[in-house]
């Protein structure tokens, strides 16, 4: 009973520590809000993370940053990477989506956009700067694997949007 309560306290503390680790490409977004921390096992002493994209160069840096932060906090836990189940943008938290918007990146639409449909209208991305829904996709590929490039027709600003995965 007592052990169970202590475990819960410890786990809550670990989540708080992890919430301080940012994605190197999106430093304002924590790895927890990005949804890549999948589980914490106190029994095994393991924090499990999953990459956003197979080729995301940030994955190793994130693993190291998490390990360092845990060590700083005096927590003796290993960081393991697991591919399945595969990460989806649906795992970005509500807070994470707000953080993205506040930093000029349109958050991803809920999963459903049909990537197979040729010339299908891309989902409407509201401009993160002026809020207008009158935007267009310039390219499905951007500065990082997880983002696409868009342009707002109302305020003329180019902006990045998180790709639905």
């Amino acid at each position: 009973m007592v052990t169970a309560i202590l475990h819960r306290l410890d786990e809550a503390r670990i989540w708080r520590v992890l919430a301080e680790v940012g994605d190197p490409e999106l430093p304002f977004l924590s790895v927890v809000d990005l949804g890549i921390v999948r589980s914490i096992s106190l029994d095994d002493g393991v924090v499990t993370i999953t990459p956003t994209y197979s080729g995301c160069p940030a994955t190793e840096v994130i693993g190291l940053a998490i390990a360092n932060k845990l060590a700083e906090a005096g927590l003796d836990l290993k960081v393991e990477t697991k591919l399945s189940p595969a990460w989806t943008t649906d795992w970005i938290t509500e807070k994470g989506r707000e953080t993205l918007r506040a930093n000029g990146i349109a958050p991803p639409p809920a999963a459903s956009s049909d990537k197979h449909a040729l010339f299908a209208e891309p989902p409407v991305m509201a401009c993160p700067l002026c809020g207008s829904p009158d935007t267009e996709q310039v390219s499905a590929f951007g500065a990082t694997a997880c983002k696409a490039m868009h342009r707002c027709q109302s305020c003329s600003e180019p902006f990045e949007a998180f790709k639905c995965l």
């Binding site: 990459p51 080729g55 591919l83 951007g142």
Partner: protein, 251 residues
Amino acid sequence: MTTSPPLFDYTLRLGDSCLILAQRLAEWTGHAPVLEEDIALGNLGLDLLGQARSFLTYAGEIEGKGRSEDDLAFLRDAFDFRNVSLVEQPNGDFGQTIARHLLFAGWHELVLERLTQSKDATLAAVAEKGVKEIAYHWRHAAEWTIRLGDGTEESHARMQAGLNQVWGYTPELFRMDETDAAMLSAGIGVDLAGLQPTWDARINAVLAEATLDRPTNITRSNGKQGVHSEHLGHVLTELQYLQRAYPGMQW
């Protein structure tokens, strides 16, 4: 021809095809017709490089001789590579690169889709991750094929020429050899021959929309058994240069 365990060989085929195409796409960096395509082709290559890393790391584990993903990528000779011949073909112009990507992504997506059901948990996990990425590849290549094929006289002619150039390497994608058969009967591998009707249908639909003719030429190719065109050697001289010139060099 193949003496190594079928699972090692099979995993190398998956990893090497991704690795070599990633290298080909990276050749476009700084040279693509427009900035957005420069970025797009680099991103496509990065996805494939990521998949290659997962497959090759696993291949090294299967082999059990302590070879890492880097050892396999940088220290093997051309005849030890198991990529399908299609991916080592030169970029040509933008149309030819798009044609190659259309044919490959249309196939690779089907392979990964089936591989998610593999009895091999690692291959299934890598496939589950990759299949979501490759959906964007297929769409990108198909949209460009249609835009260029059904575009101007010049773009149509070049798209058709690029397609003709790489088409002959597609029969290899569906040919089942001993390794493929062994993996299929073990519940690990994919029925490649069985993918052909689905692939044909999706490719035909895009070509029709693009007003392009489906080529009929066939090239005898057998990259997946280690028999490569001269092009692979040239790819490897660039890919492996640093480790060959300065063995063990690290960043």
